[in-house]
């Protein structure tokens, strides 16, 4: 190879950082970690929004059952038991609105147990009153005897205790998901550290030579970190993209439980709007989180490599 002119390109790979076979695995491993992280992120955001919805919705609702609603009220002449109960509830502080479910709604409620002909059965069904609470709601302990006096046998059922239990469950799931995310981050950092140490060991001679020529720890660490950062970013982006279809299908499956969210399955395939709507199925915080994953992967790669290389270099004077 003869040449009398200085070569044009700058030979930057003084540390021989072009990866060996083992280091080519790093983006793949980081991709797998990011895939799991994306699922954990979705789980955490989903559990948080579920808990919030339960707390905002169900906690503010009270169900009152009035047996024999059409029978005359015992204490007020000319009104039936249902009207009397509704009047009592409307006059109670802490109650925003009161609404008796219609026959159709009641039949719908009972359909899972009694089939579509529930309304036609000659069962003595109670009236069900949906009560929306305001503020802290009424004093249920004081309300019960007043309801009993107005229409004996009437029962008020608050959802608070169930909501609290379900919310606690959802919060626990959220914490578990965050712990899974933290664990994935820790494992990713561990893998990057091990790969970096292996890379350092292979390049020990080159590092010693460059160190002997006056390279600072910062120079050597930054060269390694730059490579690890790009590899981790590539892997994290790939893993996140890989998780996206899974998340979209999950979002589609949960769409019926989320009022207003469109589902793709059944929509005209190939149409732009349903696809866009489908993409919008994912909540905004999840999109933000997914976009942040490659950045988090890069950051983990950069910081872990900097620390690992600088600690390793301590063995040189």
């Amino acid at each position: 190879m003869a040449s009398t002119r200085p070569p044009r390109r700058r030979g930057g790979d003084d540390l021989g950082l072009r990866p060996g076979l083992g280091e080519r695995m790093l983006p793949l491993v980081v991709a797998a970690m990011s895939f799991i992280a994306a699922l954990a992120l979705a789980g955490s955001i989903g559990a948080a929004s579920l808990a919030q919805r339960w707390q905002d919705g169900a906690a503010a609702v009270l169900t009152v059952q009035v047996p024999r609603p059409g029978a005359p009220s015992g204490d007020t002449a000319g009104t039936n038991r249902l009207d009397r109960t509704l009047a009592l509830l409307r006059g109670t502080p802490g109650i925003a609105s009161v609404r008796a479910l219609s026959e159709t709604e009641l039949t719908d409620l009972l359909r899972p147990w009694l089939g579509s002909g529930a309304g036609k059965l000659s069962l003595p069904l109670p009236a069900v009153v949906e009560v929306h609470l305001s503020g802290a709601g009424p004093d249920l302990v004081a309300l019960a005897p007043r309801l009993e006096a107005a229409a004996p046998g009437t029962a008020a059922e608050g959802h608070g205790i169930w909501v609290r239990r379900l919310s606690a469950l959802a919060r626990s799931l959220e914490v578990c998901a965050w712990m899974a995310l933290a664990l994935v981050a820790a494992i990713a950092a561990g893998i990057v550290a091990v790969a970096t140490r292996a890379g350092l060991a292979v390049r020990r001679d080159a590092i010693e030579i460059v160190h002997g020529l006056g390279a600072t720890d910062g120079y050597i660490a930054t060269r390694f970190a730059a490579r690890a950062t790009s590899q981790a970013a590539l892997g994290a982006a790939g893993g996140t993209l890989g998780a996206l279809p899974v998340l979209l299908v999950l979002a589609d499956l949960t769409a019926p439980f989320t009022p207003g969210a469109p589902a793709l399955i059944g929509a005209a395939s190939g149409a732009t709007e349903p696809l866009l709507a489908w993409l919008l199925n994912l909540p905004a915080p999840l999109w933000a989180g997914l976009l942040a994953l490659p950045m988090a992967g890069s950051l983990i790669g950069y910081v872990t490599t900097q620390i690992t290389v600088r600690r390793w270099l301590r063995q040189l004077p």
Binding site: S3, R5, P6, P7, D205, G214, D217, Y219, P317
Partner: protein
Amino acid sequence: MIRLESVGLHYAQGSTPGPDVLRDITFVVPEGGFRWLLGPSGAGKSSLLRLLHLAVRPTSGRLALLDVDITLASRRDLALLRRRVGMVFQDFRLLPQLSAFDNVALPLRLGGRAEAQLRADVAEMLRWVGLGKKFDASPAELSGGEQQRVAIARAVVARPHVLLADEPTGNLDDVQAERLMILLKEMNRLGTTVIVATHNEALVARHPGQSLRLEHGRMIEHG
């Protein structure tokens, strides 16, 4: 200026200290001085050069290089100090993945020299050592003598304040060895402190100068 006061060195063997390879070494080489470093194999010449190249720190005594006390210097200061010390290794220590040109350019790039500026210096240095047609050659494509000349070019290209050489003529023919001595003397004349370790008594005889002589890790003659 190089100043050693009662410097000792041993290498660790696992967790225990190994035997002393240098003991109670004391000498001063003034700025711009020239010294032969002489002594039989195993006397400690290479270890002394490693100390002066800051590849190891003394295990006892004090070493000051270019007015920096290296026992007190930070890691960053040591790195910057190494840039002012050129070293020609007996085994060349070239980077196999880089071309001859890039090996020689490395000290300048580490020193932050702009690419446009360093290209002429590197090309001139390679031509001077007779490798003007081998810019792109990798070390594996070069003979032992050619690799040694690349190593010499890399050691001097950044105009170091101190130049250390460990058997620099070992793989060179007489003509190249003489050219190298002319280069070393010229650098010394321009103010570089030069220390050359060698077994080549004929070379020392042709270029008489002050010497440091080591035996069994001790300095038995200096001046």
